[in-house]
Symmetry: C2
Subunit: 436 residues, 2 copies
């Protein structure tokens, strides 16, 4: 078996054997297959596709390419939660403490901001002192002690994904369902949870733009997780506009705290409660009144516990002004009245990235204070001269630079309805429509 | 413009602009576009194709990527001849001296053996002392003096083709008509001739297996040459069985000498006369009795002149036993009688390569003496126990190793007809069938 043979087979639309897939993954990791052969194979996969069996073999081989967590020392059924990435998506910061407050252990490995997508690790680092680089033993011990830990994947996990992802990013082979699905699920499998909840974003600010595409990806992810022996459920949720109102790291932590305190945006609360309830169901836990955990402050206290355990200042949950604040706040005003009919998540994210809230390379620095806070969302009425959003910038010039872009990301029509957030629930049994 | 954008456009089946193609070629040559991006683009081209305009832009950009010969100091209209590569294809060794003997200057750059295909330079090096690495000035001066020179392309010609070819070879993107056509024609354009004659081989021993594929390639090559301002004609000729009887470097030189002396295999003589006549027509030369040039010995004397001018021993044309000879000659006998119905050019070439007559890497050494001489060709009657071929090997063990493979490359049936050699003549006006 040679890489050239396997490139040729995939080029001709044939399905590769499990041995062939494992040969490619091993060769990607040990460097015995050069980048240019992997790139040609990835383009052939992008254009020819992969069967379910190939995708499963790829996912399992990638998961097994590095360290795999063993969470068995943590009592109970562990449930992971993963979002495919979006704009203003701080749901993990709400859902994880809420679920932990309900007694279900949360051992969560998260990622960093890249491109227009935010990352949970960067958001948590907006809390002074918060450490995301826990060792594996420390990570597991913390879940055993306080029921929750959120940390970065260690460098030795899923090395195959790092090789493939870097190449896909440079060769226009990112948007392939089998490649996306194997990348996501290999990391979830290696993270060791018993069950997996996926939040597949659909819309302008997501990896996939349309609900049918997101549904296809969700089906692929659920099938993959199931065939790997992990109960897996996926939601398709709206990412046409940003989730909630805040886009930017410290701004999003503040909004998560507000939501845990029961005063956040309704749609973020609705999504978080739904995802938390699903995680409890996957954990096999009987009905818990999650709303009460928010109202009584249990979830917010659990978040404070998490922050303290990982070296951060827990007072932030009572006094969000301890978070970094940008020196300049500049409103963007509506030039006509009507109803907000669009708030382009991608454009708003790119404006935020231009302010310094995001990055194009994994090791680039990030400005944790800056971002954009939407004052209006789709369906909201607006009067000429009212603020559509507030730009939080390092300098006045930075704010001016993106003001037109932020303004242009909104569209205003005579009438417009609010967008539903929950669109589909996908299980092995099928697809349930939630937006009816 | 970035390489990533252009990969994405080709991935999505769009046609790239001339500027985009030139950007890719420049980036391939100066190393600013990494191999893995070029590989992904090549696979996208292999699966999505290229328009005629893209192929022309690619060919011109590749030709212009390095040194381009200026043959204007050589009087008359210069005609190049190129074969797409085959097994036992020593036609250049016959055609070039024959055309030069007719007074048409031949400034020919040739290649080396690679894979199952032979190379004119290796064959010429079977003549003791023959130098193929002429400097450009020396090359042109020789054509001016004696009307013929055959040399290797200099290292600074068509560097883009070297980059692309090495990647294509490693990424299963060789068999793409636009990529083959641009590779062939960029080298021909850079070689500076006014008109180009192409011999497109079709069959088991060729780059393309079927006549329709070869015809499509021939049309593409003719269109490319014409759009670049060079009159171009292509023949499609048979490569199902080896051309002539000899496969192997010194063995083929001997057969070329025999043919120049009028005692070679009829089909090699027929092909050579036809190609030579076409070259004369392209050169604008009035009817010359080519057959007479063979019979009178003018063509053979011109070959001797060529050999002397390039440092070889010209006595070889009168005494081919001066060529290297393999120590072992082992016949392969027919186990049944009938008519030869198949003599698989690819299998015979691979057997020859196993003996040492070919190579898989451009810099690998080659054994100039070894090879296979067919005693029977398709259509010939054969009696059980008669030799089908004679293996010329370095050792008895080498000969034994390939004996079964050589035997298995022949098929024998009750009846079979000889195969025509000339199949199509392709010009800008259309395709003429020659095998009727």
């Amino acid at each position: 078996m040679t890489a050239l043979d396997l490139i040729r087979e995939k080029r001709d639309g044939q399905a590769l054997s499990g041995d062939a897939i494992r040969f490619l993954v091993a060769g990607a990791c040990d460097g015995s297959i050069p980048d240019y052969q992997l790139a040609a194979w990835l383009m052939a996969v992008r254009l020819r596709g992969m069967t379910d069996a190939e995708t499963t073999a790829l996912t399992l081989a990638m998961a097994a390419s590095g360290r795999q967590l063993d969470l068995s020392s943590i009592p109970g059924r562990k449930v992971d939660k993963h979002s495919t990435g979006g704009v203003g998506d701080k749901a993990t910061l709400v859902v994880a403490p809420l679920v932990a407050a309900a007694g279900v252990p949360v051992a969560k490995l998260s990622g960093r901001a890249l491109g227009h997508s935010g990352g949970t690790l960067d958001k948590l680092e907006a809390i002074a002192g918060f450490r995301v680089d826990l060792g594996i033993d420390e990570f597991i011990a913390q879940v055993r002690t306080i029921g929750i830990a959120i940390a970065g994947q260690t460098a030795d996990m899923v090395p195959a994904d790092k090789v493939f992802y870097a190449l896909r990013d440079a060769t226009a082979t990112v948007d392939s369902v089998p490649l996306i699905a194997s990348s996501v699920m290999s990391k979830k499998l290696a993270a060791g949870a018993d069950a997996i909840l996926l939040d597949v974003k659909a819309g302008r600010g997501a990896f996939v733009a349309t609900v049918p595409e997101a549904e296809a990806l969700a089906r692929a992810l659920v099938a993959l997780g199931t065939s790997a022996g992990r109960e897996t459920v996926a939601y398709v949720t709206d990412m046409e506009q940003p989730l909630g109102r805040a886009v930017g790291n410290a701004l999003e932590v503040r909004e998560a705290i507000d939501t845990l305190a029961g005063r956040g945006p309704a749609e973020l609360g609705d999504l978080s409660l739904r995802l938390a309830a699903e995680m409890l169901r996957l954990a096999g836990v009987q009905a818990v009144d999650l709303h009460r955990l928010l109202v009584r402050g249990d979830a917010l206290r659990k978040f404070a516990e998490l922050i303290r355990a990982q070296g951060g200042d827990p007072r932030v949950v009572d006094d969000p002004s301890l978070l970094p604040e940008a020196p300049v706040q500049r409103p963007v005003l509506a030039t006509v009245g009507g109803h907000v009919s669009g708030a382009d998540a991608l454009e708003i994210a790119l404006a935020g990235k231009a302010l310094g809230a995001g990055r194009d390379r994994k090791d680039a620095p990030i400005d944790l204070a800056v971002g954009i806070v939407l004052q209006k969302k789709i369906g909201d009425p607006i009067v000429e001269g009212e603020p559509l959003a507030v730009i939080h910038a390092r300098t006045g010039a930075d704010a001016e630079n993106v003001a037109n872009r932020v303004a242009a990301s909104f569209t205003i029509a005579e009438r417009a309805s609010p967008r539903p957030i929950l669109l589909r629930r996908v299980t092995t049994s099928g697809v349930e429509r939630l937006d009816l």
